[in-house]
């Protein structure tokens, strides 16, 4: 492991943690979705770099899937759903931005403090990836917990999954990663749609689009 390749991996993984923080900080819907897309881009770059230095071509496929699905398809879908449902634009955190961010820093410290001593036997790259991946997972969970809004909870869940992919790519020798990534992504997409249908049904007692038209007003 030469210095430069480790450094680039470190930058990309650290960048993923930083983008998770930016995601935590967002309080408006459209930038939230855009930052999520950015996180997916950084993740795909990180996985691609892992593929390059580990000489594991199947990780390139994972990177491409991450890029395609999570950086393009899902954000676009979310964008359109948010737009069509006219969901309230400002997202309020439960406790307040300052304490949430401080708690996030504490979670990063916790994940580093847990992971590094535990994985003392593994290679340096794997240890670092696991520590940062746990941080991203915990930050995703924090995002789910600290918001009132369903879309931000879904985004938090998907960013949590990004952390899992980072961990999986860092540990060498996992050929099933491709299949698992695809399956997860489809599962996520289904969950997203399901949540929204559920919400619509909760609000209007129907998912029938004809009936919804009546509530929109203006257009008959």
């Amino acid at each position: 492991m030469t210095g430069l390749s480790f450094d680039v991996a470190h930058v990309l993984a650290g960048g993923l943690v930083l983008v998770s923080f930016i995601l935590l900080y967002q309080d408006r819907m459209y930038p939230l979705i855009r930052v999520f897309a950015l996180q997916a881009v950084v993740l795909s770059l990180s996985v691609a770099w892992q593929a390059f230095i580990q000489n594991a071509p199947h990780l390139f496929i994972t990177a491409t899937i991450a890029l395609g699905f999570k950086a393009i398809v899902i954000p676009v879908a979310l964008h359109r759903i948010v737009h069509r449902l006219g969901i309230h634009r400002m997202v309020e955190p439960v406790v307040g931005m300052g304490p949430t961010m401080l708690f996030g820093i504490g979670l990063v410290a916790l994940s580093i403090g847990v992971m590094l001593p535990v994985t003392a036997q593994a290679s340096t790259l794997a240890r670092e990836d696991l520590a940062f991946a746990l941080a991203v997972i915990l930050l995703g969970l924090l995002m789910m917990v600290s918001r009132h809004n369903a879309v931000s909870q879904v985004v938090g869940f998907m960013s949590l999954e990004n952390g899992l992919i980072l961990a999986a790519s860092g540990a060498k020798g996992m050929p099933l990663v491709v299949e698992i990534s695809v399956a997860f992504s489809i599962l996520i997409a289904f969950i997203v749609i399901g949540i929204f249908l559920f919400r619509i049904r909760e609000r209007f007692d129907t998912v029938d689009l004809q009936a919804l038209q009546r509530f929109r007003g203006g257009q008959r």
Partner: protein
């Protein structure tokens, strides 16, 4: 003989920062004006302003005390001493061992202390508003600064600026994200401390939007000249600090001979031009924040500093 040469070089640096500070301010104003499609004042206008001010009579308010008249000199002295300790074109100068990062930040704190007191001295509400806002911004910027110092000292194993610069220009640094995070945090702190956009508008004429300008509202004549020169010196100090730590290349080491000094000086001037240009572009492209959003801005700087420190623990212990 070597001592005399070293003293001369250190003295040259002290004079250099004093002479360059108004030029940097003038350059930033000129670029801002050009970006806004104005002609803008000439580059040497700050020098003319200072010369004009020191020749004018000072008008002191009735209720002002000796502190009001002494404060500009104290502020100027503290900032000049701090600015002459920051490496500009050369490191390891004769007094560089007293250039501790924490001491430099604390000297700037002294200057701010006396400036706030001068604002309160006259007993007007504008002075009070400036002083109270300045004293709100300072406690938010200092923890961020300490985190940056912590990150740098973890990397370079020193808080003395010459050693930090020597380390950062050496091969051991590597491409670290903590360095990038510290750079962003330091830029945010520098913007807040120098009363630049988006924290404060140095060109504002609306009193309720001022922080720095409100504190010096009552000053005139030579006092105002000292304070303006001190503010320009502070900007030069922060620009030199950022360029010395994060762009540390081509700095001369003391004792290397006159060629190295000249090259160092030329590169330093180039760094100043670059920094001034980027500052002007940034200021023109962003609006001033509400006063109570400054706490979020500096809180973000603190978060970035903390994150940089934590990520450094990961990369250094592997």
């Amino acid at each position: 003989m070597a001592i005399i040469a070293d003293l001369l070089v250190q003295g040259a640096q002290m004079l250099l920062v004093l002479l360059l500070a108004p030029l940097l301010t003038g350059f930033v104003r000129k670029v801002r004006a050009r970006l806004l499609r104005r002609q803008g004042p000439p580059l040497i206008q700050p020098y003319r302003d200072l010369l004009r001010l020191i020749r004018k009579e000072v008008v002191v308010a009735d209720g002002a005390s000796w502190l009001f008249r002494a404060a500009p000199y104290l502020i100027f002295a503290a900032i000049w001493v701090a600015a002459s300790l920051v490496p500009t074109f050369a490191i390891d100068l004769i007094f560089s061992w007293s250039a501790d990062l924490i001491a430099i930040v604390a000297l700037l704190g002294s200057a701010r202390f006396f400036l706030a007191l001068a604002g309160l001295d006259v007993g007007t509400s504008f002075g009070g508003i400036g002083a109270s806002r300045e004293m709100m911004i300072a406690p938010l910027a200092e923890p961020a600064m300490i985190m940056i110092v912590f990150t740098l000292s973890l990397l370079a194993r020193s808080t003395q600026l010459s050693f930090v610069v020597a380390f950062m220009s050496g091969p051991d640094v590597g491409l670290r994200i903590s360095v990038a995070l510290s750079l962003v945090a330091l830029i945010m702190v520098a913007l807040a401390e120098n009363a630049r956009m988006p924290v404060d508008n140095p060109a504002t004429h609306l009193e309720l939007t001022m922080v720095h300008e409100a504190m010096v509202l009552e000053y005139s004549g030579r006092h105002l000249a000292m304070i303006e020169l001190a503010a320009a010196l502070k900007l030069l100090l922060y620009v030199s600090l950022i360029s010395a730590i994060f762009l540390p290349w081509a700095m001369a080491v003391a004792g290397q001979g006159i060629e190295a000094y000249v090259i160092g000086l030329a590169v330093y001037l180039a760094k100043l031009v670059l920094a001034g240009f980027m500052l002007a572009v940034f200021e023109t492209s962003i609006a001033k924040m509400r006063v109570f959003r400054v706490s979020e801005f500096l809180g973000t700087a603190l978060m970035l500093g903390l994150l940089g420190t934590l990520l450094l623990f990961v990369s250094r212990n592997l």
